[in-house]
Subunit: 482 residues, 2 copies
């Protein structure tokens, strides 16, 4: 391991990250909300820590190897998660304990959107802005991670997908071309944010709320500046805008890149993952609508409005809320939660296992049935017209089984801390899938859980965001050997 | 499809099956319990139906093809399940409705052991005997299915395992050699039953109870003649005998066959699946014991006794009970339930996904991690010293994902009928894994569920017992094409 280069990179990252506390500081001055000291201290602590990590090693130049890449990626998310917690601990209100602050910070950066806080409406504006911004930064980090870093490490949906997507993802090394790509993706991400904010503002949100919610929408984050989430605004127009941008942000950013370069949207519909994504969402929304209407949970119009919004919000793993879906007829919360396991497309800001993996798993399952009927036929799994190699399929299976294994082990651990079954399984599902809200005792917020459970769930959020393997590999002896 | 031959075979099967009602009839005469009419009627109905199915086609001779094999196998279990229900509907006590009778009968034949009845202690002896015998017949059916039929159809744990196990399983066709093997397995099964019954009797059970419980022990069935199950006897000796025979019956019968022919038990310990089976059981028992002792749920001695029995009972998917484990600290019921997903070894009478599949899945997961650290290394998945082919691994993955998909879909369906989450998921787990007892509202019996839920769970028991694919393939268009 090239520890000195790793320290240097970490130092630089922290110094850059410290700068992200300044906008919140500015907000604090504008609104005179009294939280400015927390952000000044946070800025100074993060900057100085970064500087003193960087100083002793800044002359070091060594090439990084794949193994170092794993460590850097994991450190990136954990260390920023820790330092991101500092302002939340130092502010007079909220004056969070370390476990709560880290939970909130990690939940922000991983774009999970689970919160330990109540009375969101009464928080200082700068703190609100800061939470939303954490999600937005996290969302950008995810795109870079998925497009540039993970393929280098041999992990993730994009790698599987590489032969499929036209455009930026064919290169697996961080060449100048990828840097170009990252820049283009950044413009796309920024443009989506601006458009989303404009839409929210025109639809009647304040400038502050519009920017804040655009951050957490395009990041598929789900934090809000109100306890009632998007439901606070009670506006069909705002909900429609949110639905549109959640849908768009759950799509592979490689597709956006291609569409943007070619000025064409036809390619979206040629993409099998995109089509399956829409099919899943449409099918779930239809079932949800019908159950809500038939059980007369709402009037028909209301049922349509609530079902489409909540299905898109949960299935893309955003976690915005316009209805108390945990109390819908009991099949629906479970159904919606299951869709969150599929989550967004590869290389989107969405969580979950990613739609492309589910598609491949279903195709492989169907191939096994075909093989039973025609034992001697040679049948390949295809996505679009391309056959998928066995190696890629094995990676998908490995991911799927390890994901489920991690899910079950964390669930057992949470039950061991004394949670009831519904709370425990939905808490793991909500964090591992980077979804946000759970059911049972965590339907509204995670604040009442015991500390052990909160730490476990922080770990779950990181595991989910780092596609499990990136983090898990650090816990194997072979990673550290030699 | 060769429908006429299929009808002929079905007719013969029913005629044979009708004979199995005669021992219960005998028991009814011995104890004068008043249920003899139900068994006479059941015998006559089953015999005559079989005869009239067989009569028009008894001259037909055609070779069966693989596809016919699927249909016959599925019909075998469903039709016997239906006719097995007849005496339970006709008896004065219990006078079950059709859904309950079919549930009980299917639960018996699939060796699930979930019951819809209460007041087991007060049932007529002949009905008690009949339920136990259903399990015993089911257990024998499973061994034949696993060793002779499923490999022919290209399904199941044994097929994957074929290159591994010495002895009977290397042939995939129903040659005379396999007939010999089936006979040998039958002797082993019978010998285990006799030994188990003798053990129970010497330990203090009545002759009736000893025979009845030996039936449901070696079949890994779990039916009992008492509401309190094995706990009724409150005897550490009886519990130890049960533990031993549950363990033995959860082992691949191919291994027993080999050990019996070679007069050697060393080969057991050379078998990777057997070793992993003992490791899983031992590890789970240790954790369970420690949690029970540390939480002071029982005194230390009592904790040891209860934990070992319940872990072996649940993990092998037997479902006998000596403790109200559904009310143990909440992590334990869940943990034990998870072990039931692994279940018994391939070609045992146990349920679940089978230990060998879990072993292969874990090895494949670990291989993916190795590949991340050493991307260019060629690593094969080995069991013992033999590398496992990609084709076999793909079959395991296909099984695993379809099993989980079926689990989730049935869970959603049950929630749709109005069950609560814990009841629903444990009910599906208990039936799909052919385990028996659940948690929540089905911790003691399944009688209070709605009828739709009972039918769904009947289907789950059949799916589990037929290794999912055998039954599922009938629902695909390609199976019926041409
Ligand atoms: K989220
Ligand atoms: K059982």
């Amino acid at each position: 391991m090239r520890y000195r280069v790793i320290l240097k990179i970490l130092g630089i990252l922290l110094m850059i990250f410290s700068i992200t506390m300044l906008p919140a500081l500015l907000v604090s001055y504008i609104y005179e909300d009294g939280a400015h000291k927390a952000f000044m201290a946070g800025f100074a602590i993060t900057l100085l820590t970064g500087f003193f990590l960087w100083l002793p090693v800044y002359r070091v130049r060594e090439d990084l190897r794949t193994r170092d890449g794993f460590l850097i990626t994991v450190l990136f998310w954990t260390v920023l998660g820790l330092f991101g917690a500092v302002p939340l601990m130092l502010a007079d209100y909220p004056h969070l304990r370390i476990v709560d602050a880290v939970f909130e910070s990690v939940s922000g950066l991983t774009t999970t959107g689970a919160t330990v806080m109540t009375g969101i409406d009464w928080l200082p504006n700068s703190i609100l802005f800061y939470r939303q911004q954490l999600q937005w930064l996290g969302g950008m980090g995810i795109i870079v991670l998925a497009v540039a870093i993970l393929p280098m490490l041999g992990i993730g949906g994009m790698q599987l997908y590489r032969a499929e997507t036209p455009g930026p993802v064919k290169d697996s090394k961080l060449t100048p071309r990828i840097t170009e790509t990252a820049k283009a993706l950044w413009y796309i991400y920024l443009s989506l944010t601006v458009l989303c904010a404009l839409g929210y503002w025109l639809a009647g949100m304040t400038v502050f709320d519009a920017i804040a919610h655009s951050f957490s929408t395009v990041a598929i984050g789900g934090f809000s500046t109100h306890d009632a989430s998007i439901g606070h605004f009670n506006s069909p127009v705002i909900e429609s805008i949110a639905i549109f941008f959640m849908l768009v942000s759950g799509v592979n950013f490689g597709l956006h890149f291609f569409a943007w370069r070619q000025r064409s949207i036809g390619h979206y519909f040629q993409d099998p993952e995109f089509r399956f994504y829409l099919t899943l969402l449409g099918g779930t929304a239809l079932v949800t609508f019908m159950v809500l209407a038939l059980t007369q949970t709402y009037a028909v119009n209301e049922a349509l409005r609530r079902s489409v919004f909540m299905v898109v919000s949960i299935a893309t793993t955003t976690g915005f809320s316009t209805a108390d879906f945990a109390n819908w007829p009991v099949m629906l919360p479970f159904l919606l939660f299951v869709t969150a396991f599929a989550g967004g497309c590869a290389a989107s800001t969405g969580g979950g296992m990613k739609v492309i993996r589910i598609l491949l798993i279903l195709k492989q399952g169907y191939r096994e049935i075909q093989r039973l009927v025609h034992p001697s036929a040679i049948i390949s799994v295809k996505v679009g017209n391309r056959p998928i190699s066995d190696r890629v399929l094995e990676a998908v299976w490995g991911f799927f089984s390890v994901y489920l294994l991690v899910f079950v082990l964390m669930l057992i651990a949470l039950l061991g801390t004394g949670l009831d079954q519904v709370t425990a399984w939905s808490a793991v599902g909500a964090t591992l899938n980077n979804l946000g809200p759970g059911l049972g005792d965590v339907a509204v917020h995670f604040g009442d859980l015991n500390d052990t459970a909160k730490w476990i769930l922080c770990f779950a959020m990181l595991l989910g965001r780092l596609e499990v393997f990136t983090l898990l590999v650090l816990f194997t002896p072979i990673f550290w050997r030699r």
